[in-house]
Amino acid sequence: MADAQPILPALVISPERESSRPLVQVLHDWMVTVDHKRLGLMYFSYGIVFLVIGGVEASIMRAQLAVANNHLVSPEVFNRLFTMHGTTMIFFAAMPIVFGFANYLVPLMIGARDMAFPRLNAWGFWMSALGGIILYFSFIGGFGLYGAGSAPDVGWFAYAPLTSPAFSVGHSTDYWIVGILVSGFGSIATALNVMTTILCLRCPGMKLSRMPLFVWMNSVMAALVLVAIGPLTAAQLMLLIDRYLGGHFFDTQAGGSAVIWMHFFWIFGHPEVYILVLPAFAIVSEVIPVFSRKPIFGYSIMVAATVSIGFISLGVWAHHLFTIGMTSYANAFFVASTAAIAVPTGIKIFNWVGTMWGGKIIYQVAMLFCVAFLCQFLIAGLTGIMLSAAPFDWQLGNSYFVVAHFHYVILGGIVMAVFAGTYYWYPKVIGKMMNETLGKWHFWLFVIGFHLTFDFMHIPGLLGMPRRIYTYEASRGWEIWNVIISVGVIFQAIGVLLWVANVIWSYYKGEIAGNDPWDAWTLEWHTTSPPPDYNYAEIPVIRSRRPLWDLKHPEDPDWKYE
């Protein structure tokens, strides 16, 4: 090609949106929108609301557990709190947030004007939203075990037969079932949409091997959603049949199987971990290169590792079931498959470090969160390896060690990456920079709180403290650790409040960002901030993985080396 440059169209400044429109009109616009950016923002905001609600639930639990023999909340209330906390955080905080990132960024990154199915996209969002509303309506409308009180209290994995009509006589379990069922439809719609968009709407020149890693990882996420939500939906339907149509799938008193529910749930539940963590990997894989001023180290092996994580994650679910008395052969198989997933995950961590190696790392808040992510995800992976050794899991399973482990994954990994992602893309989405000083306060308070809480949470697990107990005897020797764990929550709560404050403050007072404040390399930075409705006036044409690098460095473009 004569012209060595990528053909990137000139910027078109989007027309100012009319600011004087009546509120009803503005709300109506948001309600009926099919724009992937607005839907992405709505997914994200919706997730944040539930993140805060779930955080409040966690804080009450920590206040209850801070001292032995506490009577702050009753056992009934405590059981509802941990059920709602788990369900909320997984289905209505984490999933909407990662879908929000995918929705907003995937079309921009592949040079598309919208998702492949904009109306399906809106439908998916509103189904997810409806699911959360149904779940929380149970506080008003549902009664729990033995007909006492409201809100589901069967645990977020709702093991049979606790969910059968004999043990859960009210309707709270039904709200739980229907809420998850409905949001599952939304998830499937969104995953289908992300997948189709990535496969069909890439701009000219963007071969699969030139997609940003963010897009690759979200495509594997979407594939996992398509595979994993099905069994969950099936299980919820069977449970509804049990509860309302006299079925006996999981009704052990009529010969049903409690173990089948466990398999159905975790065949969804373990890929779900990767559904959440792959988008976190995706964020980190974009932020680390830009702030290290180097391309991602080992692009091809990163893609291979991502795809193999996707496949292996479908064959590890029974490591949640090491204590149900499987045969030694079955246990050994799941030890092997679970430990094997550490290999591609390790490759990723090494490649991120390899990206930083030899770079010129700029410590903006987004990058600070990525470094914290690396350290914490490393520890989360290592405690995961400990738990993968089935005999060790016979001791640690369902103890506070496990609780510490998966919070390390979710908070230390996923939430840290989400924080990094907001500091990184906020200028693009809003057009203004987030406040760095507030951001650093947020970072340090949250990291200190996180380590106080979750480092020390491993210890009561080793000392025999099971999860899901509303109180414990002082003689057990767990109290001192629980005090420290609860104190950490205060720091984390302040950190999250500062973050929310920063998001709001920067919206009004932040510095104007410009199109490309980080001197980045992927396509989303080659449009205005915020992008116009149509993203790109002309569809860009690219020649390498870093089109903006090629544009900025015509003397040394990437495409010569790829």
Binding site: S74, P75, S257, P295, T323, G354, C375, I385
Partner: protein, 367 residues
């Protein structure tokens, strides 16, 4: 020593004391201590043998728990090693390659990858994974596929909301909440083989010092075994959420000397003591709903829903460990169970003082 599959010697506790192992043990113990930085936490972590009120899995007192403990030291040592290497790399890269104020403003060299390096950090983890798998598989086999000598004690544990039923089929009696087993001398092992069943929801039997947990699942028969090496009182609790009072479904395992165990079984086999002094209380028991749920051998009370009360006073606690077994607590329990264990399935019996007093006296007589 009772027989185990011969190709798997790790299960033999004596082998764990060989010098090669203890060196590994020392390294791993040191690693463990630094990993959690809890040297100051005192007795909770000290490897003193014998029962403790803190059910630490780092203080094992039975072969399955010891096998797991040694595996865990090995796994934690490997993980600590990986952590130190990778964490150092992250910190080194993060500090060394930070942008400095003196920076010339040029972009750093653009490196896209390195096949050799990437191959190395693929192959080395694979090797580590293989080693971990083999170590875990050995212990899985040793614990799960163990075989039992003819003198093993057979116990059937049945989980209920929110208490434990223990049947001793070899002796023909039933008790609750406090499991008595004989100590297992290494030279003359008497392991206890426990069959795990559930009467309602899922539960999990977890006494960390004695063995890993195994779930009790309705319509499913699970098994586990313990061979406690020291006499004493071991604590644990239900480890699978089973409903409102999951937290107070505590487990107490009393490991007796062979003589004490023989005495205890002898006593448990006898029917309930019949004393004329408490005949009024017995009448209250037999003419109220008590007998629908509780059994007292030798009387007409043969309910199965609640714990067997034939030898109630031989137990140190009531309500599955929720309160000490005293006269005041028994009275409170009958009068107002929610005061001790809110959400439990024992109903408040609504007895007046006239009935309550003799009833508690009767219960107190069930030695």
């Amino acid at each position: 020593m009772y027989t185990r599959p011969t190709h798997c010697e790790t299960a033999n506790p004596r082998r764990l004391n060989r010098p090669a192992k203890s060196l590994l043990g020392h390294i791993a113990s040191a690693a463990l201590l630094s990993l959690w930085a809890v040297a100051w936490s005192g007795p909770a972590f000290a490897s003193t043998a014998g029962p403790s009120s803190t059910p630490s899995l780092l203080n094992p007192a039975s072969t399955p728990a010891q096998d797991i403990y040694h595996l865990s030291l090995f796994v934690m040592a490997i993980c600590l090693g990986i952590f130190l290497v990778v964490f150092s790399l992250i910190v080194y890269a993060a500090v060394k390659y930070r942008k400095r104020p003196t920076d010339d403003g040029h972009e750093p060299p653009q490196i896209y990858g390195s096949n050799q390096v990437e191959l190395a950090w693929t192959v080395i983890p694979i090797l580590i994974v293989v080693v971990l798998f083999l170590a875990a598989a050995r212990v899985i086999h040793a614990v799960e596929d163990a075989q039992f000598p003819p003198n093993a004690i057979e116990v059937t544990a049945i989980g209920h909301q929110f208490w434990w039923e223990f049947q001793y089929p070899g002796y023909g009696f039933v008790t609750a909440n406090e499991l008595h087993v004989p100590v297992s001398d290494l030279s003359h092992p008497t392991p206890t083989h426990i069959v795990l069943l559930s009467a309602d929801t899922d539960h999990s039997f977890w006494v960390p010092q004695l063995a890993g947990k195994i779930d009790l699942i309705p319509n499913r028969r699970n098994e586990m075994w313990i061979d406690p090496h020291d006499v004493g009182h071991y604590v644990g609790q239900c480890a699978q959420y089973c409903g409102t009072q999951h937290a107070k479904m505590l487990l107490n395992v009393m490991v007796d000397s062979p003589e004490d165990f023989a005495k205890w079984t002898q006593q448990q086999k006898t029917p309930a003591v019949m004393s004329d002094q408490v005949i009024a209380g017995r009448k209250v028991f037999e003419t109220n709903a008590c007998m629908n749920c509780h059994t007292i051998t030798g009387t007409i009370a043969n309910g199965k829903f609640g714990p067997d009360l034939t030898h109630l006073m031989s137990r140190t606690t009531i309500a599955a460990g929720a309160a000490p077994n005293t006269q005041e607590n028994l009275r409170l329990w009958v009068e107002q169970p929610d005061a001790i264990k809110p959400g439990c399935l024992m109903p408040a019996m609504q007895l007046d003082e006239q009935d309550l007093k003799p009833l508690v006296a009767y219960l107190m007589s069930l030695q």
